[in-house]
């Protein structure tokens, strides 16, 4: 069961921190700023076979455009409600406020995200290419 796939959505600034942490079988989607993420993007990720999604952005108050991570937090809460209604556990989605010198938080979150996926198993998505 080591083929659990975790998508990390991060902003341009955190791209290097995330890639430097080089987490295995995880994909990184970098956007200009976390403020660009809307519910459809995260739902799409689950639909395309992601077992878990980590939204990693700058620390609140330090975003280059100032409101990216606040908006991402609201978006993640909204998606978590939708996922609960649809029948996917909300634990598969996590937002993490990261700073360039705290890559250890990302690694820790990635580890216990893997445990969550092992515990919950794959959401058996028909459409996802397995």
């Amino acid at each position: 069961m080591n083929d659990c796939s975790i998508l990390i959505i991060c902003c341009e600034k955190m791209k290097e921190t995330v890639e430097r942490a080089s987490l295995e079988n995880s994909a990184v989607l970098a956007l200009p700023c976390l403020g660009r993420i809307d519910e459809a993007v995260i739902l799409r990720a689950f639909r395309k076979g992601a077992d878990a999604v980590i939204v990693a952005g700058c620390v609140e108050g330090n975003c280059k455009y100032n409101s990216g991570n606040y908006q991402a937090r609201r978006c993640v809460n909204e998606v978590r409600d939708i996922l609960e209604e649809i029948g996917i556990s909300g634990e598969r989605l996590e937002i993490l406020n990261l700073s360039p010198n705290q890559a250890v938080d990302l690694v820790n979150l990635f580890e216990n995200m893997k445990e969550v996926v092992l515990r919950l198993g794959h959401p058996d998505i028909l459409g996802a290419e397995r």
Binding site: V59, S99, P100, Q102
Partner: protein, 333 residues
Amino acid sequence: MYEVGIIGGGAAGLAAALELSRRRVSSVVIDSDKHIGGLSRDLCCKANPVCQRCDACSPVDIRREVRKSPFVTLISSSDVIDASGGPGAYTLSLQSSSGISEIEVKSVIVAIGSPTFDAARDARYRYSDCADVLTSRDLETMMISGNISVPSTGKTPQSLAVIQCVGSRDAKHGAPYCSKVCCKYSLKLVKRVRKELPEIEVTFFYRDWRPSDREYDKLAEYGKEKGVHVVRSRPAEVIIGSRPLVRYATVEDEVREDPFDIVVLAVGLQPPQNSQKLASSLGMECNQYGFFIKKGEGAYAAGCCTGPKDIRESVEEGIAAAGKAAAFLEGLQ
């Protein structure tokens, strides 16, 4: 042959290198440590959870941009033992594991920073004899690794004492000046610790609250919070026991000894070592404590080596020095 030689790869040095690379001026950064980054390298982010503007991440961003810039050459684990020549043509002699080498530069920026006060020198706080007495830097490395535990017992601490002005405002240990940064730094570090351990009891031992920016009443405000005590007194000593006891005189002139799980010493900034030799070889001067004096053309100083300051001011001073060096080089042509 480089245009600017930057001695010291800390926050100020790298900021200068980055600013010069933005102006397409080539520079070489010489750092004595194996890893480039200096004092600000092992600082954790103090967000609790909102950013407290502790500036710890700005040297990290700068270091990453410098690594990508083609104009900057990084030389680590090599010391500048001697320098000669005058403005426009300096030769720096470097000593590293692979022997001595010479580098020709047109202008020099000294950014060797300043070490923190070695807490063992202040015997009253028994830093070397008791494992539970830490300096703020030890607590910092513990924070970065993510688990805060009492060194001797391994359990999570219930109470924490922060003693300010260790190794600054202290003529006996050669540091009668105030290090200007420990007040604001300690408050942010404590707020970050209390984000991790919300129910920890914290006691501040301070003499004068000297914040940065306009946070004049922040400590008094924070003192009103549950579990935070603010005591205006300079502790006499730390007594070793199962838990370290801090012995201090209270405002009402009675002597008290309170036990704490961890005692953190907010260590000040010491002048850079043997700065006199480097200064005279570059035609610069030092004040009576060994901090560089910013004067003259060709050789500039930036960062903590010109006086205790915080990361933001060091980075600004690095940028200013880079500007002066760039202007000086244009003048040469």
